[in-house]
């Protein structure tokens, strides 16, 4: 089973998977606690528009995607902050527009080198050395910022009102978090793909939330679940020739349901067993 890792591309895939899961596990922690998962869906789908702009204009798609997605995240953030009743509608419109734009632009593109399927569903098995450097540097920057501002971000997630009154620069922190989400999403696209990346910045931390009473455990669990899902998903992807995004997210979801079963809060397993005991 482990012979596959003798291959160069598998080693790069494994490294990419592990780096991306640490990154996504970390940011998922804040996405879940600040309830940003729908905003995450909105931001991630806009990546298709960003990639397409890059492909059409000859710019590196990752660069154009990062700029476009960051701008979209700020726009979505502003809409969300207005507190309008129709916030979810507005977000839905934003990301539908960006996705449709992306599809239209890609159809326009005369180049057939665009691996659309790879962008949409992940192509971890075609990770290059350059990709590894991109993931490493950008991922490192994101994690660095998250660590630097950790206590402030956590306070904002816990009680934004009191954090504001205590003097924290809450607006800056909010847009910082959105920007870091945007960069994470673009970095993770190579591994999980645009369609499923929004799941990968939520599920690992949702799993941690089921199991943890302390934020340190929730964060650690989130990162570990991300890594386990990545490695298992990678193996499945190679073994059965399936899209990596799909296999990784399936494993991630499986871990979540397991966590729900054994969660000390819900005690689902205990209660079910009690029902069947004599």
């Amino acid at each position: 089973m482990l012979e596959m890792f003798a291959f160069d591309f598998m080693q790069r895939a494994l490294l990419a998977g592990i780096m991306v899961s640490i990154l996504c596990g970390f940011i998922a922690f804040f996405v879940v606690l600040k309830r940003l998962s729908f905003i995450g869906v909105g931001i991630s789908h806009s990546a298709l528009g960003g990639v397409a702009i890059g492909v059409l204009s000859g710019v590196d798609p990752i660069l154009s995607a990062i700029i476009f997605v960051i701008l979209m995240s700020w726009a979505i953030g502003m809409v969300s902050k207005k507190g309008d009743v129709h916030e979810d509608t507005a977000i839905g419109i934003f990301f539908s527009f960006a996705t449709a734009l992306g599809v239209a632009l890609i159809s326009l593109s005369k180049s057939y080198n665009v691996d659309l399927f790879g962008y949409l569903f992940g192509s971890i098995l075609s990770v290059t050395k350059k990709d590894l450097w991109t993931v490493g540097i950008l991922g490192g920057l994101v994690v660095g910022f998250l660590i630097l501002f950790f206590k402030e971000l956590l306070f904002m997630c816990f009680d934004e009102e009191v954090a504001t009154i205590s003097g924290l620069p809450v607006t800056f922190l909010y847009y910082l978090l959105l920007t870091l989400m945007a960069v994470t999403i673009v970095v993770a696209i190579k591994v999980v793909g645009i369609v499923l990346v929004s799941a990968f910045i939520v599920i690992p931390a949702a799993t941690g939330y089921q199991l943890a009473k302390s934020y340190r455990i929730m964060l650690t669990t989130s990162i570990l679940c991300g890594i386990v899902a990545s490695v298992a998903g990678l193996w499945l992807s190679f073994r059965f020739d399936l899209a990596s995004g799909a296999t990784i997210v399936l494993c991630s979801t499986l871990l979540f349901f397991l966590a729900m079963l054994i969660s000390p809060r819900r005690r689902l397993l205990q209660r079910t067993l009690n029902r069947f005991s004599p």
Binding site: K151, E152, E161, V162, I165, S214
Partner: protein, 266 residues
């Protein structure tokens, strides 16, 4: 961040000052030409019927809401400037909006109160940890350090939030209906705690509450708000004022009697 200790005896700056404040929300007038001034070191109760603008008034003082007309100052500064200064406001919101499964222990949650003092890019130090413990002892929660914040009862949670607010070394503490859903025997101890904290730490305290009986015992002043009308005076002045019935639009004597009965009946 070192807190500058300002000697209250030299300055006449009121702790809170509203001048002709108007607030409109969604086409409705929530606050109409409200003006009052609160001296430092006072324990002030804010009363009034539900939906009358008491919480809006708090939000204006906290700087969460900008008045559409008029001026608000906290210790001489606009609220947004005040909270960026080395001085602080402690705020205990109504507890309804908490995620009870948030993964924080009581210790962690109270430590959050130190974050502004610790500063960006720095980690909590020995003094911060000591302050957290000291404030938890003050509110009587020192046995609850590792309990998850969502497992606390209503009254315990309120005390934890007070400890958190105290960690920011505030000059002004604002509480929004802190005793909702808390049993009557407990309410009296809660107000006693606030009173003791005020004396020990030289705080100015504002409490929005419906506990008219308890407020009349513990507060120095009452302010009655109902959009435009307000009364401001000592508890006995306000509660015996015949305008109070108009403010609450009900038979006020009956209301007061019920409050007294609740208190003595325990």
């Amino acid at each position: 961040m070192e807190k500058e200790k300002i000697d209250a005896s030299i300055t006449d700056v009121p702790a809170v000052e509203l001048k002709s404040v108007w607030v409109f929300l969604q086409g409705n007038t929530i606050l109409e030409d409200i003006s009052f001034s609160i001296k430092e070191g006072r324990f002030v109760g804010i009363i009034g019927p539900n939906g009358a603008g008491k919480t809006t008034c708090l939000k204006v003082i906290l700087g969460l809401l900008k008045p559409d007309r008029g001026d608000v100052k906290v210790f001489g500064l606009p609220p947004e400037k005040f909270r960026k200064s080395p001085q602080a406001i402690g705020y205990i919101p109504q507890k309804t909006h908490f995620d009870s499964h948030f993964p924080l222990s009581v210790y962690d949650a109270v430590l959050m109160g130190r974050i502004h003092r610790i500063g960006l890019l720095k980690f909590p130090g020995q003094r911060d940890r000591e302050m957290v413990l000291q404030n938890l002892i003050r509110v009587g929660l020192d046995g609850y350090l590792q309990r998850q914040i969502g497992e606390l009862s209503g009254g315990e949670l309120q005390r934890a939030l007070i400890a958190r607010a105290l960690c920011n070394e505030p000059r002004l503490m604002i509480l929004d209906e802190p005793t909702t859903g808390v049993d009557i025997a407990y309410q009296e101890r809660f107000y006693q705690l606030l009173h003791d904290l005020k004396k020990e730490l030289k705080l100015t305290i504002m409490v929005v509450s419906h506990d008219l009986g308890l407020l009349s015992n513990y507060s120095d002043e009452l302010i009655c708000i109902n959009r435009s009308m307000h009364l401001h005076g000592s508890p006995s002045e306000v509660l015996s004022n015949r305008l109070l019935g108009q403010v609450y639009r009900c038979e006020f004597d009956l209301f007061l009697q019920t409050q007294r009965a609740k208190k003595t009946g325990e």
